[in-house]
């Protein structure tokens, strides 16, 4: 049977082109790889190569013809004496024929609803001990490394130096150099090596000395770690934790003071955790290490030394994706996470003195976001202020405000207030740095504005 040669598409957008000239004539023998003709598009001149072997039986579109539609039959190749078989519709114009789809529907299926698990109930009589966030993070890693030999820690100065911020202090002694690995200063490279190890089924904890340096590695985090499960149709998986301090420390200037919560919070395929308290830091880091997905774990240098009560339990694991109501209240909902919580909590205390009873929600996880807890609270209070250190445009607060207006519009008694860092690179001067960051006063002011008091 003779084979139809079709006008090819040479780019994703090409619809038609000019058949400039034939390089073979009727009767010529052609074999695969032979150039049959030249065609021209608005972008380029290209050659059509033969795929099948035989004799050029017919030329149906002459040299110099313009506006030849993609998939039009331009020639036939076959054995001598053959005629073209009746053209099946699919070959003549596959572009016009609807593709076989499993479901002939152009409507976008709804996203599956995700229901966050509640925190586990603490056993009766659970004791608490005061610990710093630093100690909590260290314990979480050590416990998980004891539990699972596939868990290892890599990063700059994590081993012999005992951690730039001493989070990994003592881990080298306990687990040895095979599992606590000093890397060269090469974020892009070691993030990629971590991703490869995770593809192979190991469970790396990749420490960035700060998330500011992870910008060097963001391609591996997003394009490789976050997207590969999807791009592989569910085959690959990347059980990895990227962790380290995030956001402003103190007087380190613009390149070392940036909050990435909103950046990573946008990416499907990632989970993003940003704890405030030591208990949450411990329970959520353990959960992150066990999670089969890539988890961005955003810590804060200022909080490392803060003390919190941590449950004295052998295996304290918290659910990723669940917000925590830090303080119940009825007049307004204040939503924050990470370092922002310290402003929110102090503001709530002062607001109580003004007769405003604030409910404070610690989001804890940025992605997946527990918007249900926020919405339920706003339905009760009718007002909301968000607090974070990151920049305003495209901030986490912006997303929360969107979700509230979409899900609790009728319950709102005032516009949602949003406190963020100022829309400037972080200045170095002490006074300017203070002005660039949110303050307790900013939060109080915003709450008073939306409560009209």
């Amino acid at each position: 049977m003779a084979i139809d040669i079709l006008m090819p598409a040479l780019s994703p957008t090409m619809e038609e082109g000019t058949l400039t000239k034939w390089l073979k004539k009727v009767g010529d023998d052609v074999k695969s790889g032979d150039v049959l003709a030249e065609i021209e598009t608005d972008k380029a001149t290209m050659e059509i190569e033969a795929v099948d072997e035989g004799k050029l039986l017919e030329i149906l579109v002459a040299d110099g013809t313009e506006g030849v539609k993609v998939n039009a039959v331009i020639a036939r190749v076959g054995a001598e004496g053959e005629t073209s078989a009746p053209k099946p519709a699919a070959q003549a114009a596959p572009a016009e024929k609807p593709l076989p789809v499993a479901q002939a529907s152009s409507t976008v299926p709804a996203a599956p609803a995700v229901k966050a698990e509640a925190d586990p109930d603490l056993p009766a009589g659970t004791q608490f001990e005061s610990k710093t966030v630093r100690e909590a993070l260290r314990e979480a890693m050590a416990e998980e490394m004891r539990r699972d030999g596939d868990v290892f820690l890599m990063g700059e100065e994590v081993a012999e130096y005992q951690g730039a911020y001493k989070i990994s202090q003592g881990l080298l002694d306990e687990f040895g150099a095979k599992r606590v690995i000093d890397t060269p200063i090469t974020e892009h490279g070691f993030a990629g090596i971590g991703v490869g190890a995770a593809f192979a089924g190991l469970k790396p904890i990749v420490e960035f000395m700060t998330f500011n340096f992870a910008m060097q590695a963001i391609d591996q985090i997003i394009n490789s770690a976050a997207k590969t499960l999807y791009m592989s149709g569910g085959q690959m998986g990347c059980p990895i934790v990227f962790r380290g301090p995030n956001g402003a420390a103190a007087r380190v200037g613009a390149q070392h003071s940036q909050d990435y919560a909103a950046w990573y919070g946008m990416i499907p395929g990632l989970k993003v955790v940003m704890p405030y308290s030591a208990a949450d830091a411990k329970g959520l880091l353990k959960a992150a290490i066990r999670d089969p997905n890539p988890v961005i774990f955003l810590e804060n240098e200022v909080l490392y030394g803060h003390h919190f009560d941590v449950p004295k339990l052998d295996d304290y694991v918290l659910p990723i994706g669940k917000a925590r109501i830090h303080k119940a209240g009825k007049d307004i909902t204040i939503v924050s996470f990470g370092m922002g919580m310290s402003y929110a909590i102090k503001a709530a205390e002062e607001l109580a003195g003004l007769g405003i009873d604030a409910e404070v929600i610690d989001l804890r996880t940025i992605r997946p976001m527990d918007i249900e807890t926020v919405v339920n609270s706003v339905k009760k209070t009718g007002r909301c202020v968000t607090v974070e250190e990151g920049w305003p445009q495209g901030s986490v607060g912006s997303e929360i405000a969107y979700q509230i207006q979409a899900n609790a519009f009728d319950y709102l008694d005032a516009p949602v207030g949003r406190i963020t860092g100022k829309d400037v690179p972080m200045p170095y001067a002490a006074n300017l740095e203070k002005l660039a960051l949110p303050t307790v006063g900013d939060v109080i002011e915003a709450v008073r504005a939306v409560t009209y008091r």
């Binding site: 993609v70 090596i193 490869g196 190890a197 592989s232």
Partner: protein, 356 residues
């Protein structure tokens, strides 16, 4: 620098010894023409495997022209000897393979099913990624093929990470990372070279030097065009190999694999090869002359070299070869038919495989 015709006579004289000496010293980066001994079965298998890739790619080009394959499509025609020769030195399903977006040949050489690969190219549910990855993003855990990466150079640290896992677990598997002369200028490649040698990771870096990074020739993009030397400052041994001769590729791969399996660390193989087609389907390849391409096809074609030897040695008649071609075409046609008729993914697939 030019890829010259390999002759068995010349090759024997310059067998490198870097792999066998295990000194970690840099081998002489002159092009290595040593070839592996191929018996009749080896030659026939190589012929079949390379022809399968070529016919598959020709068909993919055709389906692209018909609008059945969308987006970007990068064909491997001309470079077939590289993946087939290296594949012969690996343990299928154990050693890991990672590459860039020009990945169809690598997948076929790993033993992946042509139907599943082609159906992924057409974005159908029977594709390796259920239609969600496309030409540049395909994977097979079963065959230990770890992509298919669309970002130039990103596969290099990932491949080293797979080798890290091999070493961590104490296996003697090796990881092969393919990348091009273009990717060889990416920073993360050198970050990876450094750590791979520092930690003695069992990874083989195969630089497929096809002379053009998209449209920029090696001489216009690279201060050091001798890619085998690119590991020199990290003490990674490297050699230049005639990547158009499948036997030379196999011989070099054997040395590299032996080196890495034995725990000596990484190894660089610069494969001097050539792509006949443009960078992608929409590239008219104006940056080189037609004569250059034609000369390569006429004088250096990897499949033609094997065909000639098979006939000269009396290991296959023209009819035998036609029979192989017929069988290969049948497999490719079956793959194309499947990929054209298979259903698109169910709309519910939009929301699956985002998180586990």
């Amino acid at each position: 620098m030019a890829v010259r015709p390999a002759t068995e006579k010349r090759s024997r004289a310059s067998a490198p010894t870097s792999a066998t000496k295990k000194t970690g010293k840099i081998s002489n980066p002159a092009i290595n023409y040593q070839v592996a001994e191929f018996d009749k079965d080896d030659e026939l298998k190589a012929y079949h495997d390379m022809l399968l890739i070529r016919r598959f790619e020709e068909k993919a080009g055709q389906l692209y022209g018909m609008g059945l394959i969308g987006g970007f499509c990068h064909l491997y025609i001309g470079q077939e000897a590289v993946v087939v020769g290296i594949g012969k030195a690996l343990r299928e399903g154990e050693d890991q393979v990672t590459t860039s977006y020009r990945d169809h040949g690598h997948m076929l050489a790993c033993g992946m099913d042509p139907k599943g690969v082609m159906a992924e190219l057409t974005g159908r549910q029977g594709g390796y990624s259920r239609g969600k990855g496309g030409s540049m993003h395909m994977f097979s855990r079963e065959k230990q093929f770890f992509g298919g990466h669309g970002i130039v150079g990103a596969q290099v640290p990932i491949g080293a990470g797979l080798a890290f896992a091999d070493k961590y677990r104490g296996t003697d598997n090796v990881s092969v990372v393919y990348f091009g002369d273009g990717a060889a200028n990416q920073g993360q490649v050198y970050e990876t070279f450094n750590m791979a040698q520092l930690w003695k990771l069992p990874v083989i870096f195969v630089i497929e030097n096809n002379r053009y990074a998209m449209g920029t020739s090696v001489s216009r993009s690279s201060a050091q065009t001798d890619f085998a030397k690119r590991g020199e400052s990290f003490n990674i041994p490297g050699e230049q190999v005639d990547g158009m001769d499948v036997r030379a590729v196999k011989a070099a791969a054997d040395r590299a694999v032996e080196w890495a399996r034995a725990g000596n660390g990484p190894y660089i193989l610069e494969m001097q090869t050539y792509r006949y087609r443009g960078h992608s389907m929409s590239d008219p390849a104006k940056y080189r002359t037609k004569d250059e391409v034609q000369k390569m096809r006429d004088e250096r074609d990897p499949i033609e070299q094997v065909r000639k030897r098979l006939v000269e040695k009396g290991w296959a008649s023209e009819d035998d070869l036609k029979e192989i071609d017929k069988n290969v075409r049948a497999v490719v046609t079956e793959a194309a038919d499947f990929a054209s008729a298979d259903a698109e993914p169910d709309p519910s697939e939009l929301w699956t495989d985002i998180l586990r």
